[in-house]
């Protein structure tokens, strides 16, 4: 028995190719296909049903204290209407999950976790004495969408009005909409400079979804599935739990994780702190012990293919392997904006020995062939309103 979001009927009626993901029945793509959906997000906008994500609300008087001792980032840093990246760390500094913590404008907290880890996270948090934190699972009552891409602000403005849209990354605000309200957050999983996540009562999400699609129909907005969500996050260098983050790897193996870990003296102890401090000290000091590898970007320099598990070689010696990899489409840019032509390129994220840094020429082995590539810090760069492919 697979779980279904409130939009399942729409997905079925509009050519969604349904697959099972983390126990949920969701579209991997619609009729346009992954490539067109990916390209739409980079040039115009794409709309995703992300209601499968887990949503926990914490509104009790003890919520802040509970979050400060159980999450790797410091919830005390969040003012109302702000959010940040964080981890559920085990005592050894390994990730149970990566998550986003929102402090709602009225003060309550919202923790958004991966669909596949929701049950485990819930049990874990309950094992850490959440009494007084007012912890509840609101995944079913509150639906979630992601509207991402350079024209997402324009689309959203047509539906919710341009007034009051959060203007800076990680800001969020409630906006009135047709008698109800929508939490609009300037966050996302595509790397887009213009990107929003929307939270709305489950009973209203069908109307919000169709209103957004209608508002964006003349602007190039497309509904997009899990396939494009994965290629977009990979191109943006963002981790996927189970790939770049693994339950037996140190959290700080992922360089981006430093944005979700606060080791400041004033916050006191939290779960995993000692282990995370050891990892941070090792990375700062240069010795190799608990964190022998780091996640890096890899871009092919010729046409070819790479996939998760492909060995990465430097002068014939294996220095790591891909944690994610595929071929993604990219627009050819003209004068700082995407043109009309696109091409495809093979990219990946890899767990590589720490001495292998950006600029290193490598070979990626796939199906008996060694594809020439290069290690990079980023696979895309922000170019004003757009994310521009590098290489």
């Amino acid at each position: 028995m697979t779980l279904e979001t409130p939009l399942i009927g729409w997905h079925r009626q509009h050519g969604g190719k349904l697959i099972e993901f983390a126990g949920w029945s969701l579209p991997v793509s619609y009729q346009a296909g992954i490539v067109a959906e990916h390209l739409a997000c980079r040039k115009a906008a794409a709309l995703f049903d992300t209601s499968h994500m887990g949503r926990f609300r914490l509104a009790g008087p003890g919520a802040l204290a509970f979050l400060r001792r159980t999450l790797s980032n410091d919830a005390a840093r969040l003012g109302p209407g702000r959010s940040h990246y964080t981890f559920l760390s085990d005592p050894e500094g390994r990730p149970l999950d990566d998550a986003y913590l929102f402090r709602l404008p009225e003060g309550a907290y919202l923790l958004v976790v991966n669909a596949g880890n929701r049950g485990q996270d819930w049990a874990w948090l309950h094992g850490l004495d959440p009494s007084g934190a007012g912890l509840e699972d609101i995944s079913a009552q509150m639906a979630m969408l992601a509207l991402q891409g350079p024209l997402s602000s324009a689309v959203l403005g047509r539906v919710l009005g341009a007034e009051g849209l959060p203007a800076a990354r990680n800001h969020c605000a409630w906006l009135d909409w047709a008698g109800g309200r929508v939490l609009v957050s300037r966050t996302g999983y595509t790397g887009e400079p213009h990107s929003y996540e929307l939270f709305v009562e489950a009973s209203q999400v069908g109307r919000l979804w169709t209103d957004l699609l209608e508002a964006g129909s003349g602007l190039g907005l497309m509904p997009a599935g899990l396939g494009a969500r994965d290629t977009l996050r990979l191109e943006a260098g963002l981790p996927l739990y189970g790939h770049e983050l693994r339950p037996d790897w140190p959290i700080l193996s992922l360089p981006l994780a430093r944005h979700g870990v606060a080791l400041t003296p004033e916050r006191g102890d939290f779960l995993g702190r000692a282990a995370l401090e050891r990892q941070a000290a090792e990375l700062a000091g240069g010795q190799v012990a608990e964190v022998p590898c780091l996640i890096r970007g890899v871009a092919a320099q010729e046409r070819g293919m790479m996939r998760e598990g492909s060995p990465v070689l430097v002068e014939g010696r294996q220095v790591g392997e891909l944690t994610s990899g595929t071929t993604v489409p990219a627009w050819r840019f003209k004068g700082g904006a995407p043109g009309d032509e696109h091409y495809s390129r093979a990219i990946g994220l890899a767990c590589l020995e720490r001495q292998v840094v950006a600029g290193q020429k490598v070979e990626i082995v796939y199906r008996g062939r060694a594809l020439p590539g290069v290690v990079v810090n980023r696979l895309v760069k922000p170019g004003g309103n757009y994310l521009q492919p590098l290489l």
Partner: protein, 125 residues
Amino acid sequence: MNFPDDLLYSPGHLWVRAQGGTVTVGISDFAQDQLGRVVYVDLPSVGQAVAAGQEMGAVESAKSVSDLIAPVSGRVAEINEALADNPAPLNDDPYASGWLARIELSGALPAELVDAAAYRKLVGA
């Protein structure tokens, strides 16, 4: 699903359009549907010898890879270079702009190739 009557079909789900001593090959509508969205295609090189029933390349979809099994024996005369930049025609137009290669036959067409009616039965369409 669409299986044009003027084509022959191989057990590896490629179609063959015979034009004298050279044939054009591609993947069938059934194959593209099974694969899902193709993200990369690994084609043989021009001049390469291929043998019926042997691997001559691969098609990569978002989550899986499938070998391309040569439907005929011969020498690759031409490949569809445009697919390298944009493999979308493999899904959207498999019998025309999604063609894979043109192959100069080294002998007769293999007996395993079947007509559209027999292929429809094979794939249960």
